[in-house]
């Protein structure tokens, strides 16, 4: 089975969030970037499917030059090769435009299965995988925890709201977006890191892919959230704050 995994590089979860001077995005958090967590689960699922059924795992990612490090990380974990779409204006593109770029790189690969994390930790739109399916004209399933290959297709476990699940069957080729938590993520081994250096990463330039990029949706500005409640922040020594909190919960909030 040939599997393409769409991955994204995102700021690390602990990275400081500061609005940039123009108020359009955040200040670049230096070198603090990581593989988007749901995409790590998509990669893990792909690697396990390859271990069971053979085939190839190709990772594809769009973004500036630094994205190369995240592709290498995926190769170190076991992906066979990578495709990097060099794109300096990722932030100015809407979900449809980003998906068009990825499709231009994915379509020539004619994969049996395309996997993506269900959403990114930075924009959190949760759309890319589903739009990939639409543009590729393939059946899809989203918010999936587990993928099982059957005779002609796939059987997947879909997460629903409030603790419910559902099994969905779909034919191949297909697109599946992965929810976090279905598998245990593997770490890159030293051998894996060494091998990754010799694996192929093909560079594609976004402008050479000639996809439609006029946005239909724009992020005009970003701002720090305003408080929904008045929060009383308790300060002092640890012992003082603990005592003050218990007092307030008893007397003010009356919940003890």
């Amino acid at each position: 089975m040939k599997i393409v995994v769409a991955i994204k590089q995102v700021p690390e979860r602990d990275a400081q969030v500061r609005v940039d001077g123009a108020g359009r995005w955040i200040e670049e958090p230096g070198s603090q970037y990581a593989l988007n967590e749901p995409d790590a689960y998509a990669l893990e699922e792909a690697l396990q499917l390859r271990e069971q059924h053979g085939g190839e795992v190709v990772v594809v990612s769009a973004g500036p030059e630094r994205v190369g490090a995240t592709i290498r990380e995926a190769l170190a974990k076991g992906a066979d090769r990578g495709i990097q779409i060099e794109c300096g204006d990722l932030g100015a593109r809407d979900a449809l435009s980003v998906a068009r770029l990825l499709v231009a790189a994915i379509r020539p690969e004619t994969p049996d299965l395309v996997l993506a994390g269900l959403q990114s930790d930075d924009l959190g739109q949760g759309q890319t995988g589903v739009i990939l399916a639409e543009l590729l004209g393939l059946p899809y399933a989203s918010l999936i925890l587990h993928v099982e290959k059957t005779g002609a297709g796939l059987k997947v476990k879909r997460e629903l709201e409030e603790g419910w699940f559902q099994t969905i069957e779909l034919p191949l080729p297909a697109v599946v977006t992965m929810q976090s938590g279905g598998n245990k993520l593997r770490y890159a081994t030293l051998m894996g890191i060494k091998r990754a250096k010799t694996k192929e990463v093909r560079l594609l330039r976004a402008d050479a892919l000639d996809t439609e990029s006029t946005p239909v949706v724009v992020l005009e500005r970003v701002l720090l959230p305003t408080k929904q409640k008045t929060t009383q922040m308790l300060t002092g020594t640890v012992k003082e704050t603990a005592a003050a909190l218990v007092e307030k919960l008893k007397v003010e909030a009356r919940v003890l």
Partner: protein, 323 residues
């Protein structure tokens, strides 16, 4: 062009709660733009939910009916709504941000050359749409460009279901053309993950633990505080994903929706999916080392500090207070 269309979901024959919130958002959008607002109810048998929305202040209510819409499939809903929107040419399409909408709305928008503005928390003059970024640590303000339809889905709890205005609307039926062969996926029955032994939904007090706890070995620290408070132990998604606590203890959109008297969040930053599950709590306390953590936005009391120092001190103080 035919104004604002709200896509209403039914659940067990009734309009779902979040769909009412989408109707409220649609009415707000109609006021801001001077357009009329209408509702469309996709399904196999939609008489009852259509009648429910027909007594609200809407221009028209359309039952988008086909037997192949009985069980939800993305292919079925995409075909039905694509044909309906081709006929109606909406300026705005408003959806509840449910798991079902997350599954098909991005594809529907793409099919029409549009992009969904998803999980919207506020609609302002312009219209401008606010949604959360960076796991809730940042808000983004979005605008739709061009002359096509603007697709928006609204976050659970962002608009008030009880703010929907009453009125009366004419109900009609639209029958899309769908062939069984066009539905490529086979959905199975819904099932529960495992037998429920903990009912967080009815708990009066909950102490929840998140990533900040660092390791499974540290969980007893928080359990002690929960015991001292007479509280149930809850968790954010990563804790359950790691198998440190059972999945049934997960609070949030994919876990349990809770509304206790006291919700004490320990080492939880407060991603949107978690906040949606607990913001109905009467009193929220947050303990986190990051003063910028979004959990503080919904907290009544906050302590910025190292949970490994604060939690044991708090356990002591609770025990002392109880004598």
């Amino acid at each position: 062009m035919s104004g604002v269309w709200v896509v209403v979901e039914e659940r067990d024959g009734r309009v779902s709660r979040i769909s009412w919130e989408a109707v409220a958002a649609g009415q707000r959008l109609a006021k801001l733009t001077g357009l009329t607002v209408n509702a469309v109810v996709p399904g196999a048998e939609t008489t009852a939910p259509a009648a429910e929305v027909a007594v609200k202040a809407l221009g028209r209510v359309v039952r988008l009916e086909h037997p192949l819409l009985a069980a939800y499939t993305a292919d079925g809903f995409l075909l039905a709504l694509q044909q309906f929107f081709a006929a109606e040419q909406p300026e705005y399409a408003v959806f509840p941000h449910s798991y079902q909408v997350r599954d098909y709305a991005p594809a529907l928008a793409a099919r029409l050359g549009e992009a969904l503005i998803g999980d919207v928390t506020a609609i302002g003059v312009g219209p401008e749409f606010t949604r959360q970024l960076m796991q809730g640590r940042l808000n983004g303000v979005y605008r739709h460009m061009g002359g096509g339809a603007c697709f928006v889905s609204v976050q659970a709890g962002a608009f008030r279901a009880d703010a929907v205005e009453d009125g009366s609307a004419e109900v009609s039926v639209f029958s899309p053309a769908i062939e069984a062969a066009q539905i490529r996926t086979r959905p199975g029955e819904r099932y529960r993950g495992s037998a429920q032994t903990v009912d967080l939904g009815s708990a009066q007090r909950i102490v929840s633990v998140g990533r900040g706890i660092k390791e499974a070995e540290n969980i007893p620290l928080v359990q002690e505080l929960a015991t001292a408070l007479g509280a149930e132990l809850g968790a954010s998604r990563p804790i359950c994903d790691n198998g440190w606590l059972a999945a049934e203890r997960q609070v949030g959109s994919s876990g349990q929706m809770v509304a206790p008297k006291l919700y004490l969040a320990v080492g939880i930053s407060g991603a949107i999916q978690h906040l949606v599950g607990m913001k109905g709590s009467q009193c929220v306390v947050a303990i986190n080392k990051d003063p910028g953590a979004p959990i503080f936005e919904v907290a009544d009391y906050g302590i910025v500090g190292d949970l490994f120092e604060v939690v044991p001190a708090l356990t002591e103080a609770v025990r002392a207070a109880k004598g």
